[in-house]
């Protein structure tokens, strides 16, 4: 594994090729192609319901596409046997939208959880690692609080500490900015930047707050209707030379993304004669 990564530092860490996924009769992805470069912060944006979170679940192997493949560090996630998949997952940190801290355990034990599950480290070593990670997110003092005693922003930072406890190669942030006040938002932004710049962790974030994304992201993929419709640096996308970016970042009501959910003509719904489908 180290061979492939050192040989091919230029090869993207995550390669999505021709991914097609049908969920409940709806095509969530339609031959989707996209790359996530190593050591960068890549944002995946798009209108609600375009399967951005679903894409993250494909990268972690929690879901599989109906066609195409998802390569993570050169390995086809859908083909991996369970054990190898679990080994791969140990190298991926995942920050859930609602933090997903284990409610039975306090902050310290939550961060220690992956260590206790996968290593046989001495108690004082675990303590050092956990406190270091908590220090990094600024919550060392909260180690003995229960998750129910944390604010949303604090819980997200604890979840981040837990996600980086194994120093992963890749962190997936699922909507990291939702429901945060401006102060907490800035803290999370700073953490994402720090983890990427100082530890070189490849970061993928799913979000739709363009203002926050342009602060941290090196690269943005815009997804709509199951396809990648635009890519580039935040500055490039903000210029808006395609109708997609114009609508999404300019906020126009009508555009490629329709305001109306697909439906038969209004007249036929009202039952006017002569226009029945």
């Amino acid at each position: 594994m180290t061979d492939t990564s050192s040989d091919s530092a230029a090869v993207p860490l995550v390669q999505v090729r021709g991914l097609t996924t049908v969920l409940g009769g709806k095509k969530v992805f339609d031959a989707l192609d996209l790359d996530i470069a190593r050591g960068r912060v890549t944002a995946i944006m798009g209108p609600s319901g375009t399967g951005k979170t679903t894409l993250l679940k494909h990268i972690t192997g929690q879901m599989h596409g109906d066609a195409g493949q998802v390569l993570v560090d050169g390995e086809d996630v859908a083909r991996l046997p369970r054990e190898s998949l679990y080994v791969l997952r140990e190298r991926i940190g995942y920050l859930f939208q609602n933090s997903a801290l284990l409610s039975d355990y306090n902050v310290f034990e939550n961060v220690a959880f992956p260590l206790r599950q996968h290593t046989r480290l001495q108690e004082d070593l675990i303590r050092n690692v956990v406190l270091t990670k908590l220090q990094a997110v600024g919550l060392r003092g909260a180690a003995l609080l229960m998750p129910s005693e944390l604010s949303g922003g604090m819980a997200r930072r604890v979840a981040l500490a837990r996600a980086i406890v194994f120093d992963p190669m890749l962190i997936l942030y699922d909507e990291p900015f939702v429901g945060l006040d401006p102060i907490a938002l800035n803290q999370v932004l700073k953490l994402i930047r720090t983890l990427n710049r100082e530890l070189g962790i490849t970061s993928v974030l799913v979000a739709h707050e363009f203002a926050a994304v342009r602060e941290v992201a090196d690269h943005v993929h815009l997804i709509a209707n199951g396809k990648r419709v635009a890519s580039g640096t935040p500055a490039e996308l903000a210029k808006g030379d395609s109708p997609w970016t114009a609508q999404f970042f300019g906020g126009a009501l009508e555009g490629p993304v329709p305001f109306q959910y697909p439906a038969p003509p209004l007249a036929s719904a009202f039952g006017f004669p002569g226009v029945a489908p």
């Binding site: 929690q62 997952r89 140990e90 859930f96 997903a100 801290l101 284990l102 409610s103 039975d104 599950q117």
Partner: protein, 257 residues
Amino acid sequence: MKQFAARLFDPLVDGLADIGRTGWFLLGLLAALPRGLTYPRELLRQLWFVGAKSLIIIMISGLFVGMVLSLQLYYTLSIFGGTSALGTVIALSLYRELGPVVTALLFAGRAGTAITAEVGLMRATDQLSAMEMMAVDPLAFVASPRFLAGVIAMPLLVAVFNLMGIFGGHLIGVTWLGIDNGTFWSNMTSNVSVWTDVINGEWKALAFGALISLIAVYQGYTAPPTSEGVANATTRTVVTSSIAILALDFVMTAFLM
């Protein structure tokens, strides 16, 4: 007509599908069970959660059931002039039938719902997905300890329930109704057998414990991730396990005894 048939059969098909899915879930759970044994601390926590915390309600209920049995059976036996058999009849009713069944129904209400609500909440707040992402199998870490705890706790709770029932029955029969203490015990001890009565009841307890915790964990595990979904799943746990207990009780009684 077609609609009527659909309304009649759809719940039936849904119910069958639910049984089928529970069966599949059981297979996955059994496969994960050996790995679940590597979390003894979780098992201990769950034994506390479903077992020790159910103890008070089980003891109080056992006492009252024994007292009521004593009154009712005394009345019935006195018609035949057989009140000396009171101890025997109380013990046999408790060990073979009421102990396992009443304990199981209480257990479904007390521990089963708690398991469903807890696991459902873990599902709704992505804790189960988070475990998968941390390369920890939730079937082994969450489902197995709860299932095992139910299987272990039920026979112990039934023994406690029966014991309290005997004491309650003794309290009413001997202290209040005035049956001779020696008659009460000697009649019981000469007619109640360890294997066909006490142990058969414990087999039932074991089966009910497995059934309830399977249903409770399954319902929580598959609950829709909304507050309504978790609430409905909790209700379904009580309804499904109550019916399943009584049906299985009939089958086991017919085959075991």
